[in-house]
Symmetry: C2
Subunit: 211 residues, 2 copies
């Protein structure tokens, strides 16, 4: 039951949170069943891809009927570990960091930023959207109380050294909003959200891939 999950394609894994969120909204709306075609229209993923994605987890649906919303919901809740809470820290309370703290991914899920860190005396000791800001110099002292993920929103010049320190402190995953391509040990997982690259890529597609 655990080992089979190792075979799930990465592309599928990245879509799971998307499915989960939409299934939640269907459930909240009181919908009982849903077909891959309906899901497809909502999340803009081909229906065959959705059926394929679901099939990696076994037969979640019923032929001629579709999928039971309640069942899907509890299945994905467990699969995405939404039963247990996941705590995250954020490093760098600048504009972007502040925006993420206010947002705090709060609406749908069980993943929450619990601590923020910064070096600015004026920010330390305050709260930004419920989240207390701690002194970055006290990271080791405070420790990562079973937190395994950090959101990195520091200036580019501080990115690598901040990452090094987080790794040293025992972090396992980084959501990196800086443009720096971090060098980390092989067992650390880093996902990049590179805002400037995303915008440039859109510009490029627009000019060179007319739809």
């Amino acid at each position: 039951m655990k080992s089979e999950q190792l075979k799930i394609p990465q592309a599928t894994a990245k879509r799971l949170p998307l499915y989960y969120r939409f299934i939640e909204s269907l459930h909240a709306a009181g919908k009982q069943r849903v077909s891959s075609t309906e899901l497809s229209q909502a999340v803009k993923v081909d229906s065959a891809t959705i059926r394929r994605d679901f099939s990696y987890f076994g037969a979640l649906g019923k032929k001629g009927y579709g999928y039971n919303v309640q069942y899907l919901l509890s299945f994905f809740r467990e699969t995405l570990d939404q039963d247990e809470r996941t705590n995250v820290i954020l490093v760098g309370v600048g504009n972007l960091g502040t925006a993420l703290l206010q947002y705090n991914f709060s609406k749908n899920n069980n993943t929450v930023i619990t601590h923020a860190f910064d070096v600015d005396e004026k920010k330390i000791g305050t709260k930004v959207g419920e989240v207390p800001v701690y002194n970055w110099d006290k990271l080791e002292e405070i420790g990562l109380q079973n937190v395994s993920i950090a959101v990195l929103t520091v200036p580019a010049s501080q990115a690598q050294k901040s990452a090094d320190r987080l790794v040293e402190a025992g972090i396992e995953g980084l959501l990196n909003f800086t443009p720096v391509r971090l060098s980390v040990p092989a067992h650390i997982r880093v996902h990049h959200i590179d805002l400037a690259v995303e915008l440039q890529a859109l510009v490029y597609f627009l000019k060179h891939y007319p739809l």
Copy 2:
């Protein structure tokens, strides 16, 4: 010279801005030449992939030498249309919108947010990081002066209707930061940056794909 660019794989196109940014920094540092291996270490993309990517544009390098930084730079500048300035508007001056306006992608490139829109009277008429905030109700009146891209940072509840209105006004590309999967005409290009999905995906990978 134009038509061949239509064959460039999407995966390659998405990496171009990344290459461009690093080549810029090499140039700024006064470096003359660079090999695919060096590039690989810096941008964390396999060196064979880099050579393959470059090869879609012809023979940019010299065997036994590598690539000339100056030449690469001017080649990519042209390819990514960095000679001409690209103007962008931003809709929704909340926390995230404000962060993006302050950031304004400004450091490296020639793509700039020139107008922001919001409905909040307190924001209209002010400037956020150099960018003036206009009344969203006046969108049509102000018009999109040869702007073809909008960054969408409105609340989820406003996302679809904001997009509809932008499309009506003539926008061609959307960088969508809302969790809503927008429905737009086929000729409109939408890129999603779904912050909650990214974080959830990282959580999932961490728990299920031990490195």
